[in-house]
């Protein structure tokens, strides 16, 4: 039985009602005192794609345009405005096929467990390229196992720094307790990852639109 639909973007949590009232009150107080620290200005992100540190674990086997074989067990489904499919209009991906995209190792500060963590996986941008995302696509909607949803703009994805983690640091499969089987993590200082609610874990589906 599924819980009532939650509006997208509220994260893997439901904000308690009391908290809402208090938060509103504080917002008003903050407005009255007029001393709300200005958010750090929309720092002009450099036009060039920043180089993110990554460690190559295994090379890519599949390249853009190659067909993707159907996996033994699906871990992630991609559908929508893509050209590469292997199951009707969707692209089914498993742990092996994901590995074929090339495995990199990255590290960043994880805001939920509040510590630095390392993962292995693939850049989301690379995954989407392999999936043959069409020119007209602008957004990707990510859905989790508990039906939590996150929207990312493809422009942000192209900027880079958005990583699809598929393995733990040591190369072991990512347990659900740690956000597996796959999860989106953001490199440090990436604007799209500033909101912790974007760090969607336990992915099941990607939809390009």
């Amino acid at each position: 039985m599924r819980f009532p639909h939650r509006p997208a973007g509220t994260g893997h949590r439901r904000t308690p009602p009391r908290m809402v009232v208090v938060a509103v009150a504080i917002a008003m107080l903050a407005a009255c005192s007029g001393g709300q620290a200005a958010r750090p200005g929309l720092a002009a992100t450099p036009a060039s794609v920043p180089a993110f540190e990554s460690v190559a674990i295994s090379p890519a086997v599949l390249t853009a345009g190659d067909p993707v074989p159907l996996p033994a067990s699906t871990v992630l489904t991609v559908r929508g405005l893509i050209s590469v499919t292997n199951d009707g209009d969707s692209l089914q991906l498993g742990t092996d096929t994901l590995d074929q995209l090339g495995v990199l190792g990255v590290g960043m500060y994880e805001p939920w467990v509040k510590k630095h963590m390392s993962f292995q996986g693939v850049w989301l941008a690379d995954l989407l390229r392999i999936a043959g995302v069409e020119e007209s696509a602008t957004h990707v909607r990510l859905v989790a196992l508990d039906d939590y949803e996150v929207d990312l703009s493809l422009a942000d994805v192209q900027v880079g720094g958005i990583f699809l983690a598929t393995k733990t640091e040591s190369g072991a499969p990512l347990p659900i307790e740690e956000g597996g089987p796959t999860r989106i993590v953001f490199m440090d200082h990436v604007k799209a990852g500033e909101n912790a609610g974007q760090w969607i874990w336990s992915l099941k589906e990607l939809e390009l639109s």
Partner: protein
């Protein structure tokens, strides 16, 4: 600073103080409120920042528990064990997220780790394969999850409570600080008020003090001015008037003298042997001598006279008003005497002297310098004449003064030498035409001058006790004559003039008594004539008059009408006869006639007899008779003549008088 300027500044300061106090208090209040709000805000934001992820984590964990429970419940009935495993994983994830929201090692973190451990320890894999244990495992799992949910809920409630308490605490703290702020504001206002009041006091005190200072300054300046004025006018060494001041004083005195037609006298005093003192004993001793001399002279003079120092060893005394130039001579002699007395200077005794020049202002003259110069010249003459003496400047004055001394000497000689004689003037009783008595009038047969009238020597005699001698002689001579005449007419009286000086002297009563005894005449026949002015001016004489009347002597007020006696005073004067002055008898003015009548009536009403003096014409006599005047005397009736002219018989006298009357 004027009063209004001070008041202005006072108001400005007070206004400024009030303004400052209010502004400070307001700013303090606003600042305090702002600080309180931000502190509370900060507090609550911080609290929330901590509390929110905790509450969210726990709440999500709780939700995942329920979802897992649901999954377990539906296991085998639509829900696969994989789904259960997935749900378990999601629950685990939430627990993983919740643990770091609490401080490491805290009760909550420990509890959550405990929950995690207990969940991990459960044999969930038995659910993967349907076995006989699956159901048991399932139920066990459900029980565990329920328990987990309860634990998580407890944590959640505790968290909520804690957060609520923290918020309440923060709000209470804010209230407390608000109260503190109110207290602070009140304190600030009180301080401000106190400051304003103190300022007011201080400013008021400033004003008062400024005023006092001003008054003090004015007083000081005033007294300074006084001191300066004193210094400007006085010689510093002797404290006497200095030259400038003396000249001013002398000039003023001369002007007054001119207006009042009175005399001003100046003594110019030059110290003798002063230079010797300076040379032998030094200037300090000289200064002391000057000071002693000044003090002595100051003590000598009358209150209204001025002693001044011209400079060096020259001093001046201004005598004003001067009644008699002879006083100056006396004063000069006293000055010389006092200055000649030894002076104790240091441990020595110094003897100096003085040469004095005397000058009197000529009639109406007001030139002070000239007068001073005259006195100076006279002093120089005194020095030249041998020192220690006084010299008079004015030739005429000198002659007069010399003359007076000569005259006095001549009088004394004349009295001794019998040069004086008496003439007698009859007093006629108007009702009968008979001679009631005679008035004795003194004459002087002075060798080289012929017969001298009394007005040339009596005034001089009256300046000294010489007049008493004359009076005594007159008394004796007149009473002797009276005694002779009384053998012929026993009712005859003799009137003798008595001077004021003699009346005032202690010996008057004795003198009169003695004269009466020697002449062997009863007092009732003697009449003493005393001028009205003397009677009025010498109140001490009333006692003598009473004594004389007690002797039995008659008192006659001579020259009545020329003094300032009021008619009413007549009753108090111990007199028997009133002699109306000749000026009224001879006056053509119509008022004189009425005045004479008035005097006669007044005198009669007080029991006094009236004698009219200076009857020179018949037409003067007639109205007197009409006015019931008692007696008359005058050239018309009989001229004064020696006694021999009236003998041998009184009847002859009365006969001749009757002839005259017709």
């Amino acid at each position: 600073m004027t009063r209004s300027a001070h008041q202005e500044s006072f108001w400005r300061r007070r206004g400024a103080a009030i303004l400052v106090s209010v502004v400070v208090t307001t700013m303090l209040g606003i600042l305090g409120l702002a600080v309180q709000s931000s502190v509370l805000l900060g507090q609550m934001t911080a609290d929330l920042a901590v509390a929110q992820p905790r509450a969210t984590g726990l709440s999500n964990t709780q939700r995942e528990c329920l979802r897992l429970l649901q999954a377990l419940t539906d296991l085998g009935d639509g829900t696969t064990s994989t789904a259960v495993a997935v749900q378990r994983g999601l629950l685990g994830r939430q627990i993983n997220i919740s643990i770091p929201t609490f401080p490491a090692g805290s009760a909550e973190a420990t509890e959550l780790i405990g929950i995690q451990t207990s969940l991990a320890g459960f044999p969930w894999d038995r659910l993967d394969q349907p076995t006989a244990l699956t159901e048991v495992t399932r139920r066990g799992g459900m029980e565990l999850v329920k328990q987990t949910e309860r634990r998580v809920k407890a944590l959640y409630d505790k968290q909520e409570k804690f957060y609520y308490a923290a918020t309440v605490h923060s709000i209470e703290a804010k209230h407390r600080s608000e109260t503190a702020l109110v207290v602070l504001v009140v304190l600030a206002l009180t301080l401000g008020g106190t400051w304003v009041v103190m300022l007011q006091h201080r400013t008021r005190n400033d004003v008062a003090r400024a005023y006092e200072a001003l008054v003090e300054e004015v007083k000081e300046r005033q007294s300074l001015q006084d001191v300066l004025a004193h210094q400007a006018a006085h010689d510093p060494l002797t404290e006497l008037a200095n030259r400038t001041s003396l000249l001013e004083l002398l000039s003023a005195a001369l002007h007054r003298g001119q207006r009042a037609e009175s005399l001003v006298g100046v003594l110019f005093i030059d110290l003798d042997h002063f230079k010797a003192v300076n040379d032998t004993l030094g200037h300090r001793a000289g200064d002391d001598v000057l000071r002693v001399a000044a003090a002595r002279m100051r003590d000598l003079v009358r209150a209204g006279d001025t002693v001044g120092r011209l400079g060096g060893d020259e001093f001046v005394i201004v005598v004003e008003p001067l009644n008699n130039p002879g006083d100056l001579v006396e004063l000069a002699a006293r000055v010389i005497a006092i200055l000649s007395e030894p002076m104790p200077i240091g441990d020595r005794t110094v003897v100096i002297g003085a040469s004095v020049g005397i000058a009197v202002n000529p009639d109406g003259a007001t030139d002070a310098n000239q007068l001073l110069h005259h006195a100076d010249v006279a002093a120089y003459r005194a020095k030249a004449a041998g020192r220690g003496r006084a010299e008079v400047f004015d030739e005429a004055l000198r002659r007069e003064l010399d003359g007076r001394a000569d005259l006095e000497a001549a009088i004394v000689t004349g009295l001794a030498g019998g040069e004086f004689l008496l003439h007698y003037q009859p007093v006629v009783e108007l009702s009968s035409g008979a001679v009631s008595g005679y008035e004795a009038l003194i004459r002087w047969q002075r060798p080289g001058h012929g017969l001298v009238a009394p007005d040339t020597f009596i005034p001089t005699a009256e300046q000294s006790n010489l007049i008493c001698e004359i009076d005594r002689w007159v008394l004796a001579e007149a009473l002797h004559q009276l005694a002779r005449w009384m053998r012929v007419d026993p009712k005859i009286t003799m009137a003798v003039n008595i001077s004021g000086r003699h009346l005032a002297s202690v010996s008057i009563v004795a003198d009169v008594a003695r004269a009466l005894r020697r002449a062997d005449v009863s007092a009732a026949h003697l009449i003493l004539e005393i001028t009205e002015t003397v009677l009025v001016n010498e109140p001490a004489s009333t006692a003598r008059l009473r004594a004389l009347r007690e002797l039995g002597v008659g008192i006659s007020i001579d020259d009545f009408g020329t003094g300032y006696t009021s008619i009413g005073q007549l009753q108090h004067l111990h007199a028997d006869i009133l002699k109306i002055d000749r000026s009224f008898i001879g006056s053509p003015t119509p008022g004189a006639h009425a005045l004479v009548e008035l005097m006669i009536n007044a005198a009669h009403s007080f029991g006094l007899r009236v004698v009219a003096e200076g009857v020179e014409r018949a037409d003067q006599l007639t109205p007197l008779i009409e006015m019931t005047c008692d007696s008359a005397q005058g050239y018309y009736l009989a001229r004064p003549q020696p006694a021999a002219a009236f003998s041998p018989a009184a009847s002859t006298l009365s006969a001749s008088l009757s002839d005259l009357q017709r």
